[in-house]
């Protein structure tokens, strides 16, 4: 591991990569602060730039920087204007915004920055410990286990993303897998489901799909409902960034607990920064003394520190399955996986053995990103917050333009832009009806790998007997089934109980 850390240090501390981290963090913070733009949209927009860099380590470092920056920026807009740019910073606004209204915006931003920094740092250290161990275990896996593991990952994502509506999330996953079969795959060398359209020969473009699923619906939502981009009160006076010793003593145990808890939640496929932040907030409120509990929601520093530490640790945790198993645990890591594949890097247990410089450089750069966010952004926050004053009339055309450019640069084909608009409209309608979109994208990205492993297992065992012949595969598939059935069952029971209460039973 020490050797790996040294490789990572030498790669991450090259001038180009340091510039990538700084640039990524700043871009992420700027854009993440704009209401309505989450890390997924920002990363989707940045992918063509990252891919054109060519060097996978530099590209991934840039994207990881953007990711952290966006989460940091999201918490800033949550605190200052009560408009979380990102779902994972919604819980931040519960106490951050009341603090800002009490004239303690500077203090709130400092607490958030310190909690995020600690969460991210603890996460990076745990990642350094966990990832190699998991990769070693994963090296023992065969294609059948991989297939089963991906099914587990997809089911878990559907179970979490569906929030009680697992069928919808599963249907979206299957739709993503179906879209992945369109085009000429490497496996059979024959076009499938192209409907004679030449532009579909190589399948749907991953960047186009990512933009259409996340960036475009967000922009359309901003158009439809102008109140989403309201920025009144933004960028006001932010003074006194200091926190007292007493406050530091109060938040220290909260940050410590939530960094570990957040990381563990982040490692689970499908759970992710949003769930980690809400859970972190709820746990801290429940274990706080009665008197402090009443402060939650009214400007408690503990209530602000908990979700901030948890969401950053979870974001780092979500890199564990990505880097060690090649399975993305969240929409954002799915986009990163797509970017890696586009750069000819296949994440998985072999990544650590075959390309240690990428593996370790990413981990080290995560730590570096956290330090940079803290030392660079905290003094700059009052100035960066001015970005909140960009008028909607300028903001939206530029978001749409960058979405279009992203898809165009990715494929260098104007037809791709028409696909983008078409898929974007479909995605917006799906969002109206509460269909989760992250499972679709994750299904799409995992589709070819899933089919590849499935086909290899079928060939090795001359049929589907591998499911019963390999106990590990069977166990994993059983877990996948349970993951799907349990949440549906619980949601059904909860609904029946609710209906029972309504009927007066």
């Amino acid at each position: 591991m020490l050797e790996g850390i040294m490789i990572g240090l030498s790669t991450a501390f090259s001038l180009t990569n340091i510039l990538m981290v700084i640039g990524g963090c700043l871009i992420g913070t700027f854009i993440g602060m704009l209401p309505g733009l989450g890390p997924m949209s920002i990363i989707a927009i940045m992918i063509p730039v990252a891919i054109s860099i060519g060097d996978p380590s530099a590209a991934l470092i840039l994207l990881a920087g953007v990711y952290y920056g966006a989460i940091f920026g999201g918490s800033t807009s949550s605190i200052l204007i009560n408009a979380p740019g990102v779902a994972s910073t919604v819980a931040t606004s519960f106490d951050g915004y009341p603090l800002a209204r009490q004239g303690k915006a500077g203090k709130a931003l400092t607490v958030a920055a310190i909690a995020s920094f600690t969460g991210g740092t603890v996460g990076a250290i745990l990642l350094m410990i966990f990832a190699p161990a998991l990769a070693t275990v994963a090296l023992l896996f065969h294609s059948a286990e991989y297939f089963a593991l991906m099914v587990v990952g997809l089911s878990a994502i559907a179970a979490f993303a569906g929030t009680g509506q697992v069928a919808k999330a599963l249907l979206m996953t299957i739709l993503g897998l179906m879209m992945a079969t369109v085009g000429e795959g490497a496996l059979f060398n024959m076009p499938r489901f192209t409907m004679g359209i030449m532009d579909l020969q190589s399948g749907f473009g991953f960047i186009t799909l990512a933009m259409a699923m996340f960036a475009l619906p967000e922009a359309l939502y901003l158009v439809l409902d102008p109140s989403r981009s309201k920025t009144e009160g933004g960028g006001g006076d932010i003074k006194n960034l200091r926190i007292t010793k007493d406050e530091a003593r109060q938040i220290a145990p909260v940050v410590g607990r939530q960094s570990v808890q957040g990381f563990l939640i982040g490692v689970l496929p499908g759970a992710g920064a949003t769930i980690a932040s809400f859970l972190g907030y709820a746990v801290e409120r429940n274990i706080a003394p009665k008197k402090e509990q009443e402060q939650f929601g009214k400007g408690s520093v503990k209530g602000l520190a908990a979700p901030e530490a948890a969401n950053n640790a979870a974001s780092t945790g979500s890199f564990v399955p990505l880097l060690t198993l090649g399975i993305p645990g969240s929409g954002t890591t799915a986009i990163l996986l797509g970017a890696l594949i586009a750069l000819n890097v296949s994440p998985g247990p072999r990544l650590m053995v075959d390309e240690p410089e990428i593996f370790w450089a990413v981990i080290i750069s995560m730590y570096l990103g956290n330090v940079i966010l803290l030392i660079l952004n905290l003094p700059l926050i009052p100035y960066i917050a001015k970005v909140l004053a960009v008028p909607r009339n300028y903001l939206i055309p530029f978001i749409l333009f960058f979405t279009l450019m992203g898809a165009y640069i990715g494929q260098n084909n104007a037809t791709e832009l028409l696909f983008l608009v078409g898929l974007g409209i479909c995605a917006t309608i799906l969002r109206f009806a509460d269909y989760p979109l992250a499972p679709l994208l994750i299904g799409f990205i995992l589709g070819s790998m899933l089919e590849d492993n499935f086909s290899r297992s079928m060939q090795l065992y001359d049929g589907a007997s591998f499911i019963v012949d390999r106990p590990m595969t069977l166990a994993l598939l059983a877990i996948a089934v349970l993951l799907v059935i349990l949440p549906s069952y619980r949601a059904r029971r909860a609904r029946l109980r609710q209906e029972g209460v309504a009927d007066g039973e």
Partner: protein
């Protein structure tokens, strides 16, 4: 019928067409030696189509109840007319027009037009600020894409050569 069930119906139809292709038409051109393989190009799609059909039927027939609640900050599609629907549709039209005009009109002109008209659709009237911003943005993005990233983007309209 609620929107989510309409969508399930559409996905069901897509899944049926997909399944029809996978089960009946796809293997027609398969070479004889491929037919002895345990795995065909249609094997995985067949599995997917069955799952898709079952899941869309579950939603369509209402076995899984929709939560029905509107999440805070989300858009309620039942009150869509209360929102700026016209603006959204025009902007989507602008994106399609941009896709169609990008090559014939060249990157610079189509981008300046797109940014300017989109901002005007949203209510911006200060053209003396808007047009220079759009021109500078188009110029800098063209420079970045063409010169820095090395991806070809024709700057001028077709009648002015390459």
């Amino acid at each position: 019928m609620a929107l989510d069930r309409w969508i399930a119906l559409i996905i069901l139809m897509i899944a049926l067409a997909y399944g029809y292709a996978a089960f009946f038409t796809m293997d027609a051109t398969l070479a004889p030696f491929m037919r002895r393989n345990p795995i065909w190009p249609s094997t995985f799609p067949k599995v997917l189509s069955v799952f898709a059909i079952v899941l869309s039927l579950i939603i369509l027939l209402g076995f899984e109840k929709s939560s029905g609640e509107i999440k805070d900050g989300d858009i309620n599609y039942r009150r869509l007319t209360d929102y700026k629907l016209g603006q959204a549709v025009i902007l989507l039209g602008m994106m399609v027009a941009y896709a169609l005009l990008l090559r014939p009109l060249g990157f610079l002109a189509s981008t300046v037009l797109f940014l300017t008209i989109s901002a005007m659709v949203l209510g911006e009237r200060k053209l003396h600020i808007l047009i220079p911003i759009a021109a500078v943005a188009a110029g800098s993005v063209w420079y970045l894409v063409q010169e820095v990233l090395g991806i070809f983007l024709r700057p001028w309209p077709f009648f002015l050569g390459v």
